[in-house]
């Protein structure tokens, strides 16, 4: 398993060393240690750690100010405050600054590890929930849809997609998702696959480009509609709706969807590979 990157912010060299020793025996890797706020901000940008441990007393600012600045750079930053004092006022100010958890010195190895694990699991489980409950509903819809539309069995591979954009050469049908969770789906394939797919779907080779585009658009509409229905069947209190399709054709197309958690589904069929990318905005 990949190690989770941690940055330690503490003005005391001894405290930093103790904490780094605790963490060295675990799944965490200390990638940076900062002695003051300015250094913390510089090192955060340089190393982009997944977790930060923050001391309250720093020579050039307090830990809350420093946390605010880090959260200003990265609103998703996960910060644990480790301080000698821990009272209600500190906790409420800290929460307002976006600090996730509070621990009091001296911290036991178990406490710090449990807290850090919990924080990174929140991140892990959010993606896991989207994958299990939402992406898989589209996986079933894609498989059923291909079978119903062209009578072909397919093998589907589902993976978390972390590239910045989806690259398309051929055709892409974008269908927006509204309600919960909000997002978008893209069904895309090469021009050759589109040709094989549509001739099989319509049972004739006598079709022009416009008709092929329309057939893929309709197929995408059916698949995405079915995926949304699969989701609505399970989550009866929340309704997902789909927008009308928008279709893009050409080569060298890049489709970016900033801030979405996306999944790539690859359906391997005898007519070629049919791709689907579903992306969801996190939270409501």
């Amino acid at each position: 398993m990949e190690k989770v990157k941690v940055m330690i912010v503490d003005d005391s060299k001894i405290s930093r060393t103790i904490l780094a020793n605790h963490l060295s025996k675990t799944n965490f890797e200390v990638v940076a240690m900062a002695a003051d706020s300015a250094e913390a901000i510089r090192l955060y940008q340089e190393h982009n750690p997944e977790l930060v441990t923050m001391d309250m007393n720093l020579p050039d600012a307090d830990g809350i100010e420093c946390s605010k600045k880090i959260r200003g750079l990265d609103p998703d930053a996960k910060i644990v405050m480790i301080s000698a004092m821990k009272d209600a006022s500190l906790v409420s100010q800290g929460r307002a600054a976006g600090i996730s958890a509070f621990l009091q010195k001296p911290v036991s190895t178990n406490d710090i590890i449990d807290t850090l694990l919990l924080l990174c699991q929140q991140k892990i489980s959010k993606v896991a929930v989207l994958r299990e409950s939402y992406a898989k509903a589209f996986e079933r819809a894609l498989q059923q849809g291909i079978l119903n539309l062209i009578g072909v069995q397919s093998k589907i591979n589902l993976e978390t997609y972390d590239k910045r954009y989806v690259s398309v050469d051929g055709i892409a049908v974008i269908i927006g998702l509204t309600g919960y969770p909000v997002g978008r789906s893209i069904i895309y394939m090469s021009h050759d696959t589109m040709k094989a797919f549509t001739t099989t779907m319509l049972g004739t080779e006598d079709i022009n480009e416009d008709e092929m585009n329309e057939a893929v658009e309709e197929a995408a509409n059916i698949v995405v509609g079915r995926g949304a229905s699969n989701i609505n069947d399970v989550f009866k209190d929340k309704e997902m709706r789909i927008t009308p399709p928008g279709t893009i054709f050409g080569s060298g197309i890049k489709i970016a969807s900033p801030k979405l958690t996306t999944f790539k589904l690859t359906a391997s069929t005898k007519v070629g590979e049919i791709f689907m990318n579903v992306g969801f905005a996190e939270g409501e």
Binding site: G176, T243, I248, G250, I255, P258, K259
Partner: protein, 155 residues
């Protein structure tokens, strides 16, 4: 397409853009089109559901996209349409669509908006309607942004 549904899009553009640091935009042309949209370089698509269904595309060339991204990032120079620039353009589109939704509410029409898709690919084709769609050309400080709209009341 119902002409009444067009003004909420235009009004949103004119009211939102100056709030995020742009000069006051001017509407230069409005016309109906049958053909596909040709991507000028960067085109952002968002979909609508509920009482209004359809899509809107904000279409611009790369220079305009860079100008928009740079203005939104407080004048930071933007030399390519990278992740930051894509985020800035997506964020602008979100604001425009959200404001359009508010304007539609004033017409007693409730809508939900999808997340934006930023498509990069000059001269690639986009189709958002089986029939006609409307293009509104906006002038934004000497830069041209086309708003292509294909929306209808859900009956």
């Amino acid at each position: 397409m119902d002409a009444k549904l067009v003004n909420p899009f235009i009004d949103a553009f004119i009211s939102v853009m100056p709030q995020i640091g742009f000069p006051i935009p001017k509407r230069t042309k409005v016309y109906l089109q049958n053909k596909n949209i040709t991507n000028f370089g960067v085109a952002v698509m968002l979909g609508f559901t509920k009482q209004i269904r359809g899509n809107v595309v904000y279409n611009m060339n790369e220079d305009t996209a860079k100008f928009i991204a740079s203005t939104m990032m407080m004048g930071m120079p933007v030399s390519e349409i990278d992740t930051m620039a894509q985020s800035a353009i997506a964020e602008m589109s979100n604001m425009l669509a959200a404001n359009t939704a508010t304007n539609l509410t004033a017409l007693d029409l409730e809508v939900d908006i999808s997340t934006p898709s930023v498509t990069v690919g000059k001269d690639t084709q986009m189709k958002i309607s089986n029939t006609q769609y409307l293009t509104i050309e906006m002038d934004l400080g000497g830069h041209k942004v086309d708003i292509a709209i294909a929306v209808d009341r859900d009956v």
